[in-house]
Symmetry: C2
Subunit: 208 residues, 2 copies
């Protein structure tokens, strides 16, 4: 499965999102001609991408919405739960704890940590904030799949190192810094400013 291109994998969640909408709309089947545009790609790319993993469609009919949904969830691993720990319980951390979109897709935050002693013990969205010093022992005593970094930029690298040393191999990084990745560690950045800048570039270079 290492022969599947990265870019293909990155589109699978997008297809799943589109299927969730189709399911909510009560559609039973969908053609690549419709699924493509809903995911922002063209139809033949949908077919090509899916063909890396199997033959999920039926000629003359298209794809069964619910079946393809289940198939993608299985491929993405979201047919099971993934447990996460949050580091940083400031504004961003609070919003992350309150975000309803994680649990519905199988991502569960099981603990939150912060260095700020004034926050420790506080309940945020029903979650007690623990002292950062307990992070390593917590991770080592439980199955934790993913670490979420929501600390200030200056603390991000150190936090990533601590998480990695504690045995975590996947990090969702909200801090606006690029983390240099040790081999075997997966990192995804959530960085709205980078997203904004890729729009302002085009707006700044318009011919009009």
């Amino acid at each position: 499965m290492n022969l599947v291109p990265n870019l293909v994998v990155d589109r699978l969640p997008v297809y799943l999102r589109a299927l969730n909408v189709l399911e909510a709309e009560g559609k039973k089947t969908v053609r690549s001609e419709e699924l493509g545009p809903r995911a922002g790609v063209n139809p033949e790319l949908v077919r090509k991408d899916l063909s890396y993993f199997g033959r999920f469609g039926k000629q003359g009919r298209g794809y069964e919405v619910v079946a393809l949904q289940a198939e993608l969830r299985r491929l993405l691993g979201t047919d099971r739960q993934w447990s996460m720990v949050l580091v940083g319980a400031g504004h961003l951390g609070r919003a992350i704890l309150a975000y309803p979109g994680f649990v519905s897709e199988g991502f569960v935050i099981i603990a939150a940590f912060d260095t700020d002693t004034s926050l420790i013990g506080e309940l945020i969205s029903g979650m007690r904030v623990r002292p950062a010093g307990e992070l390593v022992s917590f991770v080592q005593s439980r199955r934790v799949d993913i670490g979420i970094i929501a600390v200030p930029p200056a603390a991000a690298r150190r936090t990533a190192e601590v998480l990695h040393e504690a045995g975590i191999r996947a990090i969702l990084n909200y801090a606006p810094v690029m983390l240099r990745l040790p081999p075997g560690l997966l990192v995804r950045n959530v960085d709205p400013v980078i997203a904004l800048e890729s729009m302002t570039f085009w707006r700044s270079h318009e011919v009009a």
Copy 2:
């Protein structure tokens, strides 16, 4: 400037991030050999990418950190301010209003809107929440470059339409839905679940 590949443009903000770190570290110059890894790409790609826009380096020396920073900011348009309106003042909206990373890069939120009457008039991070009904007239009476969508998924498409009709041509979408884009409208999605799923895919297919 339309001949510049999209992928190249997407990497410019990443280079800028790396340069910001280098500047904070007090480095005066940087070679592509160092800048590449810090941005998660290899050195020759840095040189090739930058060469689309000019010759910023000096042979035998590398790039001047501050000068390249300024050059990239100019290219990305972040040498000026971009004004944004926020739609949705729930948990997510609050975190967005409190996020310090926007202003430092020239992105300023000038108004916040919500449909929830119990929120209207409330002060969040010093910003008064306005009724959603005032959104269109506000946008039409001011220069607003970017709309930020932080509403529940079901309301996202309608919000995008309203922003677009009011004349906004760039949207930062935090709602977990893919917006079908009218031509001329730029959209970037900030979706942590999609980021997570592209990691769980690989973790689910490991040979080990």
